[in-house]
């Protein structure tokens, strides 16, 4: 690196420009990573945080509409509960509703909610930090912390549109719980069944509704694998693992594929850019490298020197880009944009960026091995 470091200082304008581009790319990477995590959170954080390993939907339900179309019965839930390796199985309700929240001040706020119907006190029930969990009160609900951000607090009343069902906020979760970009409200299963069936308060419900929900939530025993096909055959359902069920969240698949595609392109662009830069840089130094080869420097030594240069530029510029990105991310996190930074994905993305950049530089530096030291001699052919 004797020469490499001195060249970095000598050609600092060129390397600075290159570094700026790499920094901007890594900044974009961080923002995309944040957006990606944010969208995943917005889309499926409610599902991720359920203590569930798989869902059993109505037999034959397509994945993209599973949570809105499927209906399963308590009997099917019981059948799942008897399967080998299953720790718990229970009815799980999922419905999107429009509602209005009104606090003590009386001002009404319209809110969209994803109602998760869950047996109060069961293994599926959320743990709330603020207030209490789902209790025996059939009208008490636990809402996502993001609902609280709208200014809705414990004791506030949420009225479901059209039906007029009045629910009272009794607890708020510690973290974000959303499904398909809609905030979640955990509702006692019986109340959920009434709302889902369109039963207004005071109306007589059709007796069958209390036997039904969207899906059977299944939790495997620790270390055990549940034979989903066998369970489906016994219960007459179609199972999806928890991860597969993310695809049933509205827009989830489209959003994540779009972002993954953009990120993929960024990696390719970055590697090609570095490769192109070091190709031109190597060609520029052809004569000088030939002189060094004539002086007896090995190609390996010169290639290592150039890759070392690339490593300095890449690591330095990526670090700057990530730092700026994390700074900008802190500002964005409080905004309406679905943005969340996690150390894991950001680190992985930065490493990949550096690694691919080095590959590009290495491909360019291999030209050095083909430089003929004879061109160092003036009259040479």
């Amino acid at each position: 690196m004797f020469l490499g470091i001195r060249e970095l200082a000598f050609a600092r304008g060129r390397f600075g420009l290159m570094g700026l581009v790499v920094a901007l790319i890594s900044l974009l990477m961080v923002l995309l990573s944040g957006l990606s995590t944010g969208l995943v959170n917005d889309g499926v954080s409610g599902l991720i945080r359920l203590p569930v390993t798989s869902f059993a939907f109505e037999e034959g339900t397509e994945l993209d509409s599973a949570f809105s179309r499927s209906t399963v019965t308590a009997e099917q839930a019981a059948a799942w509960g008897r399967q080998r390796g299953v720790a718990d199985a229970g009815l799980f309700g999922n419905a999107l509703v429009n509602a209005e929240a009104s606090g003590a001040e009386g001002a009404a706020t319209p809110v969209d909610l994803a109602l998760f119907g869950i047996e109060a006190g069961s293994w599926l029930a959320p743990t709330a930090v603020d207030g209490s969990g789902l209790g025996q009160d059939p009208d008490g609900i636990v809402v996502s912390s993001t609902v609280a951000d709208l200014g809705i607090g414990i004791g506030d009343v949420v009225t479901i549109d059209r039906l007029g069902t009045r629910l009272t906020v009794v607890g708020i979760t510690a973290d974000q719980r959303t499904f398909g970009h809609v905030d979640i409200a955990y509702v006692p299963l019986r109340t959920w069944q009434e709302i889902h069936a369109g039963v207004a308060p005071g109306e007589q419900a059709r007796p069958g509704i209390y036997e039904e929900a969207t899906a059977v939530a299944v939790l495997a025993r620790d270390g055990a694998t549940v034979d989903l096909a066998a369970g489906d055959a016994a219960a007459g359902t179609t199972s999806r693992t928890l991860e597969e069920s993310y695809g049933a969240s509205p827009g989830y698949t489209a959003e994540t594929t779009t972002l993954d595609l953009i990120e993929g392109f960024l990696y390719v662009i970055s590697a090609l850019l570095i490769g192109a830069f070091f190709t031109v840089w190597t060609i520029n130094r052809r004569h000088e490298l030939a002189v060094l080869r004539a002086m007896g420097a090995t190609a390996g030594h010169l290639v290592r020197d150039t890759i070392g240069q690339a490593a300095v530029v890449l690591v330095g510029a990526t670090a700057v880009g990530v730092a700026v990105g994390v700074g900008a991310g802190a500002l964005l996190s409080g905004s309406a944009m679905p943005f969340a930074l996690e150390a894991g994905p950001v680190t992985a993305a930065s490493l990949l960026l550096v690694l691919l950049g080095l590959l590009g530089a290495a491909a360019a530096a291999l030209r050095i091995a083909r430089i003929d030291p004879l061109i160092a001699l003036g009259g040479a052919r």
């Binding site: 000088e288 420097a297 003036g378 040479a380 052919r381």
Partner: protein
């Protein structure tokens, strides 16, 4: 390292060297049965028209090109028989090149040019291999921290000579050192080459067009169409 310090210098020997460039109808005989010896401490000039094979002579003597026939021996080392890696090692350890207009590395200061040459040769920190002392010898100590673009043509050539000699080579191969210099500077540079050749006991071959400077050389050879002969 033991081999380099214990090395006995016997100078440069070329024996019956043939080199054909290109192939088929386009082949050119660059060197035709060339034989020469250069003793340690001797400065031999090779003159001749362009395309006579002067550069090929340097390339073969410096282990850059392998001749089709003949022997090249430096300090009892058979350069022709060596592998590509062996020839690179030969260049690192026993050859000093002085190129046209210096051919210095643009990013390096004068003293760093010498330091880097020592690194390449694997002689960093060896006693008697002091870059600053070497610059002093060629009268460039005051420009030690200057980069090539800040130096004049003559100064660049002085640094180039210091870079070639700092590693303590057995053979110094000099390619048209005065092509970019005026008369006064040309004389100064060749005088310097002659003095260093004698002082360092290095076998020097200088290829040149410049008949004006031949008076400083111990011997002058002429090359025409790949054939080497004593000058008239």
């Amino acid at each position: 390292m033991t081999t380099t310090t214990a090395r006995t210098r016997t100078g440069l020997l070329l024996e019956d060297v043939d080199l054909v460039l290109g192939d088929g109808d386009f082949s050119v005989t660059a060197l035709d049965a060339v034989s020469m010896t250069v003793a340690p401490g001797e400065l031999v000039a090779v003159v001749g028209p362009s395309g006579a094979g002067k550069s090929s002579l340097l390339a073969v003597a410096g282990g850059l090109t392998r001749p089709d026939h003949g022997r090249v021996v430096v300090d009892d080392l058979d350069v022709v028989a060596a592998t590509a890696a062996g020839r690179a090692r030969y260049r690192r350890e026993r050859v000093g090149f002085v190129f046209q207009s210096g051919n210095l590395i643009p990013a390096l200061t004068a003293v760093d040019q010498l330091r880097y040459a020592l690194r390449i040769a694997g002689r960093r920190g060896e006693p008697g291999r002091d870059p600053r002392e070497m610059l002093e010898q060629v009268g460039m100590a005051h420009r030690a921290r200057s980069r090539p673009h800040q130096l004049s043509g003559g100064e660049r050539q002085r640094v180039g000579i210091a870079r070639a000699l700092v590693t303590g080579p057995s053979v110094l191969l000099v390619d048209e050192p005065t092509s970019a210099l005026d008369r006064t500077r040309s004389h100064e540079i060749v005088e310097l080459l002659a003095r260093e050749t004698h002082e360092q006991g290095v076998a020097t071959v200088m290829v040149t067009h410049d008949h004006d400077v031949l008076g400083h050389c111990d011997r002058v050879l002429q090359m025409v169409d790949g054939k080497l002969s004593a000058a008239r």
